[in-house]
């Protein structure tokens, strides 16, 4: 028997093709990105340390804040900048609000149409206008909150290496909290919708994950990574554990963690630190039972959406009237720094080597999509094998496989700026 299903996956960020081939008994799957190379790692070489965050935040319009903050962390680590606690807290709030906004957009516009049996947003608009309206509303409310903290909805302006450029007046914070109050109600409705979904059944054959270790509670900024095998190591040592590979059929790289295929993202975060979340009426318990299923990434996202909004609200409410200390003086020196953060789609690593003049000499950026792309292939393989055994039609295989990819929420443009083809000089 021979089956070949090659198709472009829609409703993901960027251009992605999934190829499923059956020859004899063996199914082969390929995660093929056809995005052009973007060379961000090369662009930052030769630039001053303070310009780097501005450059790399342009890697992705959807999660520019994560790229910005990860890069800032890496530079601050390299130059040994000690930050005040409130600066770190505000950074974390900014980051959580971005996760909330990204999650809302992904769940509503990219994931939900599949489960409501419509093809795209415009069909959803005519079938369920209420859902689209509340989606727009939730997106706009979370963006408003991001706007206050970051100065703009993409590519933050309010932060320089060393600290925030200005404080936030109490009245503004109160306004943000009111905005988040409204967002919270919509987020509850969305997560009810997502948590009630009947997900396709699939058992993860490679339940290996990697996630950043939050020093306190959940989604906070730390220096350590933890893996599903129980190991915990400094972000600085990531190269010993994570290997990057180039494939001959795709412009994205692939990663392995200790030689094994792994995944990152909300599911990994919930598997590792789910018990730290407040249990919203037993929600977490139910969701955690399902986490062996790659599709359950959606439910993990729904839980995180609730957490991010309610936690940001609480933290902002606890801010002092005068919540600003001028950016720390940065002493330029030779150094090497790694920033690790949980971007909306999973673990993000930025690594820079800075010389005596404060100029970046070497850089390495690993995005979440690079880390889990091999895992998508493995999961798609398991899924299509099951479906073929059950005699599913080609259309059904295509639909289910696309749903699986969308559950991971890959971001292709982010993932292609890292490749070094033969003949490129790295030094």
């Amino acid at each position: 028997m021979s089956i070949k299903v090659d198709f472009k996956v829609d409703k993901v960020f960027g251009h992605l093709e999934l190829q499923i081939d059956l020859h004899g008994d063996e199914v082969k799957t390929r995660f093929v990105s056809s995005e052009d190379l973007r060379y961000f790692e090369h662009m930052v070489v030769g630039r001053k340390y303070y310009e780097v965050p501005y450059i790399v935040s342009r890697i992705c319009g959807a999660c520019s804040i994560s790229h910005f903050l990860t890069s800032v962390n890496a530079v601050e680590n390299a130059l040994n900048v000690e930050l005040d606690e409130e600066v770190i807290t505000l950074k974390e709030v900014m980051h959580k609000l971005e996760i909330a906004q990204n999650t809302a957009v992904h769940l509503y516009f990219l994931a939900l149409p599949d489960y409501l049996k419509v093809r795209n947003l415009s069909e959803l608009m005519s079938a369920k206008p209420d859902i689209v309206k509340s989606a727009m509303m939730l997106n706009s409310l979370t963006l408003q909150a991001v706007n206050v903290l970051a100065g703009r909805i993409v590519n933050p302006l309010t932060y320089r290496v060393g600290g925030f450029t200005r404080g936030i007046p109490k009245e503004t914070i109160d306004r943000v909290i009111k905005t988040l109050d409204r967002a919270e109600k919509l987020a509850e409705a969305l997560s009810d919708l997502i948590l009630g979904l009947d997900l396709p059944r699939l058992s993860d054959s490679e339940l290996n994950y990697l996630t950043a270790d939050p020093p306190t509670e959940y989604l906070t900024i730390g220096d350590y990574l933890v893996g599903s095998d129980g190991s915990r190591f400094r972000g600085m040592d990531y190269m010993q554990f994570i290997s990057e590979e180039i494939s001959d059929y795709s412009t994205t790289k692939y990663c392995r963690y200790r030689g094994r295929v792994f995944f990152v993202g909300p599911r990994a975060r919930l598997l590792a630190f789910g018990e730290r979340l407040p249990d919203y009426a037993g929600l977490i318990y139910d969701v955690r039972k399902e986490l062996h299923n790659p599709f359950s990434n959606l439910k993990a996202k729904a839980v995180e959406l609730l957490y991010c909004i309610s936690n940001s609200k609480a933290v902002l409410g606890g801010l002092k009237e005068k919540n600003f200390s001028a950016p720390k003086e940065v002493r330029v020196r030779r150094g090497e720094g790694v920033g690790i953060m949980e971007a909306p789609r999973g673990l993000l690593i930025h690594h820079y080597v800075i010389n005596d003049d404060g100029v970046v000499e070497r850089s390495n950026i690993i995005t979440p999509t690079v880390m889990f792309s091999k895992h998508v292939e493995v999961a798609a393989k398991t899924l299509s094998e099951e479906l073929i055994n059950n005699g599913a039609s080609l259309n059904e295989i295509e639909l289910k496989a696309a749903m699986l990819v969308r559950a991971y929420d890959p971001c292709l443009p982010c993932s292609v700026h890292l490749i070094v083809k033969e003949g490129d000089s790295r030094e």
């Binding site: 001053k48 501005y54 100065g151 703009r152 302006l157 309010t158 450029t165």
Partner: protein
């Protein structure tokens, strides 16, 4: 009283009124620069031009309102010529926004240049930080003095330096004034050129900046 038509809307004004009075009475707007009500209406700037039926362009601030006149305030022709007028005013206006007291969004010329897309005014003109708050004053390399305005200075509003994303302010005298500002605040020109390369990349102006700086610095004209 005389009756006339502004953009096809009927309006009545007293016999000694100007077209501008009639336009305001009818609820429309034309930009003005030199006009000061009851004090100065010599029509020197001409940005208030409007089109009469028949195609004549006249300055509304000094043209008398007369019976049955039909006036268009924003026809295609009016806008085209008004843009040209703004362009000419800007060309002869000595742009020194970096040290002008009207900066911070009070400048009418800036408003007009934004409205008509005439470029040449630097970000400093609309920067909300001035005096002791200026980032240059804190020793931070901010590209405001040499970058085209029009962004509402959102970066400096958040006390973050301008990184030149809108491109260089093109006339050489504006750049020169900007570089004098950098020299005044003792900003390292290498830093400025470095940041300008972020968005201006291969634009030869990045080199012009360096050249101007060397000239100004070594020529001792500062």
């Amino acid at each position: 009283m005389v009756k006339l038509y502004i953009n096809n809307k009927e309006v009545q004004v007293e016999a000694a009124s100007t077209l501008l009075d009639a336009i305001v009475r009818a609820g429309f707007k034309v930009p003005t620069l030199c006009y000061l009500k009851d004090m100065f209406n010599e029509a020197t700037c001409r940005v208030c031009i409007v089109e009469l039926s028949g195609g004549r362009l006249v300055p509304s601030c000094s043209y008398p309102a007369s019976e049955g006149l039909r006036v268009l305030t924003d026809s295609e022709r009016v806008l085209k010529y008004r843009r040209a007028i703004v362009e000419m005013i800007l060309a002869s206006h000595k742009i020194k926004c970096q040290s002008c007291s009207m900066k911070g969004g009070y400048c009418q010329l800036l408003k007009l240049s934004k409205e008509f897309g005439v470029e040449g005014i630097p970000v400093c003109a609309e920067c909300p930080l001035y005096g002791s708050e200026c980032l240059l004053n804190l020793g931070i390399a901010c590209l405001g003095p040499v970058t085209i305005a029009g962004c509402d200075a959102i970066c400096t509003k958040e006390r973050s330096p301008c990184i030149g994303c809108r491109g260089p302010a093109s006339p050489d005298d504006v750049l020169e004034e900007g570089i004098k500002t950098f020299i005044k605040y003792k900003i390292n020109i290498d830093e400025v050129v470095g940041i300008s390369e972020l968005f201006w990349g291969s634009n030869p102006l990045t080199q012009t900046i360096r050249k101007l700086f060397t000239n100004l610095h070594e020529g001792g004209r500062v």
